[in-house]
């Protein structure tokens, strides 16, 4: 049943959000974002199957490409942060405090 796939995608997406907003570990936050992207991909493919059209597949490929680019950049940033502070705590970086 297609709806079950969509419900699973919702559950994974919400878990991804939960990871982003609760954890202070940079890696975990980053991987939660990857999880959210995967949930979106699942929804794309489910809808693609529902309508029997392959545009969803193409979009999923695009998402993967974006995820790859994001991974490359985000990891570079993580390395820089680690070099500066030696820690992985997001709360160490609070330059935007008003």
């Amino acid at each position: 049943m297609i709806q079950n796939y969509l419900i699973l995608s919702i559950i994974l997406f919400c878990l991804g959000i939960l990871g982003v907003i609760t954890r202070r570990n940079v890696f975990t936050v980053f991987m939660s974002i990857e999880l959210m992207l995967n949930a979106a991909n699942l929804a794309f493919l489910a809808f693609s199957r529902l309508h029997e059209s392959m545009d969803g597949h193409v979009l999923a490929m695009m998402v993967m490409a974006v995820a790859a680019a994001e991974a490359a950049l985000a990891l570079a940033v993580v390395i820089l942060l680690h070099k500066h502070k030696g820690k992985l705590d997001t709360n160490l970086f609070s330059l935007l405090k008003g």
């Binding site: 959000i17 982003v20 907003i21 609760t22 954890r23 202070r24 936050v29 997001t90 709360n91 970086f93 609070s94 330059l95 935007l96 405090k97 008003g98």
Partner: protein, 637 residues
């Protein structure tokens, strides 16, 4: 025909161009080496002289036309068009404006020449002539404008120049204050003028807003609106021509250089009000009530100013009050619908008053800016040319028989008597006597008797020819200008009155010759009495009296300035102070302050949310998402 029409547009253009060129030259060089004065002087005189030449051409062209067709018009360009209303920068030359044009450019040119001598050595020589040219250009626009709007352009232009020139010696605060006073008082008058113009437009202006169309439509005015328009326009005239209650600025305006007093505050600008009333003669004839108001205010101004004039000690102030007084005569004339008499007096007055001012200027020039007549005396041997010309001017002013002022003043008094305004006539005769008295008081004190200040007396001498030649020319005019309008009783044919007839709406009363003789005899008698008293009191030396009682009251000008100050200026300042101290900070500014205070406080309060942790910002985002979902899931049910 075509060419002559174009000349009308060019006439104001020359002085305006001159003003532009001179002003730029002065502006660009005033901080560096100054250009030679001769260059400025020549350039400054070119514009007025060209305009005078064109005025002559226009005059003779009009003269060659049949009486009923004597008007030329020229539309330079459409100034603005709103809906069906097209306001053209149009110029109109008819007998009235061509006469004004002629003597304005003539006297203007003479005074430009005189000023070259008088202003020599002044560090703002170029600026002075730029202003003077600008004034002449504005005055010509005023005179030649084909409708009230164009006239208003000139009207404001001359007001501006008057302000600039009164406060010309701007190092002295008093002069600047005098300029401000003139400007502010004129604004009050201008408000009346603008309101009058607006009413007129509202009532009958939609079918064309120039004099010719207005004249055709004038009969559509209801009496109430007509009288309102007339009185409002007269308020404008009061401001410009220094009538009660707005006359106070003119005596103070003498702070400017003397040629300015001669040109602007005696000969030309101050007569603009009279000219305007004559222009609107079709309205004032229609509503005699408004006319009588004008006439009475005029003659009362004449009386009041003459009273003040009898007690002044500053030579220029005496002349200033006499100007106010003569302007009062003119308004009395136009008020009783004797327009040609009023304009004729404008014409002769321009000559003899400009002459007197320029003569006074020579005296002041010779005495190193001493203006107090109680410090002068016996100058007739030292300054013969000035003395002779000024005596001619004084005789003309006080109405000595056969001088120009005699004919014009007599014409006014005769018209008053003939049209049944005997009250105005009686006051008029009285004022004529007073005029003779204070004019010759001045002449005797300045030129006769013993010198009171030996030191100044020794160094006094006649001015250079550049200054005396205009004096002589004007003296000839002052003596003989009356010939142009000789009444029938002296064998003339009222040439100017007939010339002006197509422009004006007036009726010449036909009365018996005895009334005319009565008028002449009384005014000659008034002149004789006035001059005799002056001769007795002042001709053989007199000391400055200490005024008491009524004299003191008159010497202090009835305390009018002080009363105005107490009644209008001080309350106005008090209101201003209250507003600036209490109303502005506590009422009008309060919301500005309140909102800035609010933003500050709000900023401080909301700062709490800016914790700086990225995770918390994500939480905010999710909160928003959550609220949005709540709202949406409600609405999609």
């Amino acid at each position: 025909m075509e060419h002559t029409s174009t000349y009308i547009g060019l006439t104001p253009l020359f002085p305006l161009l001159g003003a532009l060129v001179l002003g730029l030259m002065h502006m660009l060089t005033c901080t560096k080496t100054r250009l030679p004065e001769k260059l400025y002087g020549v350039l400054a005189c070119v514009g007025p002289l060209l305009s005078f030449f064109l005025a002559l051409v226009i005059f003779y062209h009009l003269k060659g036309l049949p009486t009923e067709e004597r008007f030329l018009s020229h539309n330079a360009f459409t100034w603005f068009a709103v809906g069906d209303l097209h306001v053209n920068m149009g110029f109109l030359a008819d007998p009235l404006s061509s006469l004004m044009l002629l003597f304005v450019t003539f006297i203007g040119s003479l005074i430009h020449i005189y000023s070259i001598g008088y202003m020599a050595g002044d560090k703002n020589f170029g600026k002075f002539f730029a202003y003077l040219n600008l004034f002449l250009g504005s005055m010509l626009i005023l005179v030649l404008g084909s409708g009230p709007i164009v006239m208003f352009v000139g009207w404001e232009g001359v007001g501006l120049c008057s302000y600039l020139l009164i406060s010309f010696y701007s190092e002295d605060t008093d002069n600047v204050l005098a300029g401000n006073k003139a400007f502010i008082v004129n604004r009050i008058g201008d408000l009346g003028f603008v309101l009058g113009m607006s009413f007129l437009f509202w009532a009958i202006g939609t079918n064309g807003f120039d004099y010719l169309s207005l004249k055709v439509n004038a009969h559509n005015l209801t009496p109430a609106i007509g009288i309102t328009v007339c009185l409002l326009l007269f308020i404008g005239a009061c401001g410009k021509s220094a009538q009660i209650p707005l006359y106070v600025w003119l005596p103070d305006a003498m702070a400017g250089p003397t040629p300015v007093s001669a040109l602007i505050h005696a000969a030309t600008m101050v007569t603009a009000g009279v000219y305007m009333v004559a222009r609107f003669s079709f309205l004032y004839t229609h509503f005699p009530l408004a006319g009588s108001v004008v006439a009475w205010i005029g003659i009362l101004t004449a009386l009041l100013a003459a009273t003040f004039g009898m007690f002044q000690k500053d030579i220029k102030k005496i002349l200033a009050y006499s100007t106010v007084s003569q302007l009062g005569y003119m308004f009395a004339a136009v008020g009783i619908a004797a327009y040609s008499a009023g304009i004729f007096h404008v014409f002769t007055h321009a000559f003899f008053k400009a002459l007197l001012f320029l003569g006074a200027g020579s005296v002041i020039y010779a005495l190193h800016h001493q203006q107090d007549i109680w410090q002068m005396g016996g100058l007739k041997d030292k300054m013969p040319t000035t003395y002779k010309t000024m005596v001619i001017g004084a005789l003309a002013l006080s109405g000595a028989p056969l001088f120009s002022g005699f004919f014009s003043k007599d014409e006014i008094l005769f018209s008053a008597l003939a049209s049944g305004h005997s009250g105005i006539w009686i006051i008029g005769v009285l004022v004529a006597g007073m005029t003779a008295y204070y004019t010759f008081r001045m002449i005797f004190l300045v030129f006769h008797g013993e010198p009171r200040d030996k030191d100044l007396y020794e160094h006094a001498k006649d001015a250079p020819p550049l200054m005396t030649i205009p004096l002589i020319i004007l003296a000839v005019g002052a003596a003989f200008a009356g010939v142009l309008n000789l009444p029938a009783i002296f064998g003339g044919s009222l040439t100017i009155s007939h010339w002006l007839a197509p422009s004006l709406v007036e009726h010449h009363p036909h009365v018996s010759i005895w009334i005319e003789i009565l008028a002449i005899v009384t005014s000659v008698a008034a002149f004789a009495i006035g001059i005799t008293i002056a001769y007795k009191k002042f001709a053989h030396g007199a000391e400055e009296p200490v005024y008491t009682g009524l004299g003191k009251f008159g010497y202090n000008k009835f305390y009018v300035d002080e009363i105005y100050n107490a009644v209008f200026v001080q309350p106005y300042k008090a209101v201003g102070a209250v507003i600036s101290k209490f109303l502005e900070p506590n009422v009008t500014d309060i919301h500005v302050k309140l909102s800035s205070w609010l933003y500050q406080k709000a900023g401080k309060a909301f700062k709490v949310f800016q914790v700086g942790y990225i995770r918390v910002y994500a939480i905010y985002m999710v909160i928003g998402l959550s609220l949005m979902s709540l709202f949406l899931s409600h609405s999609i049910n």
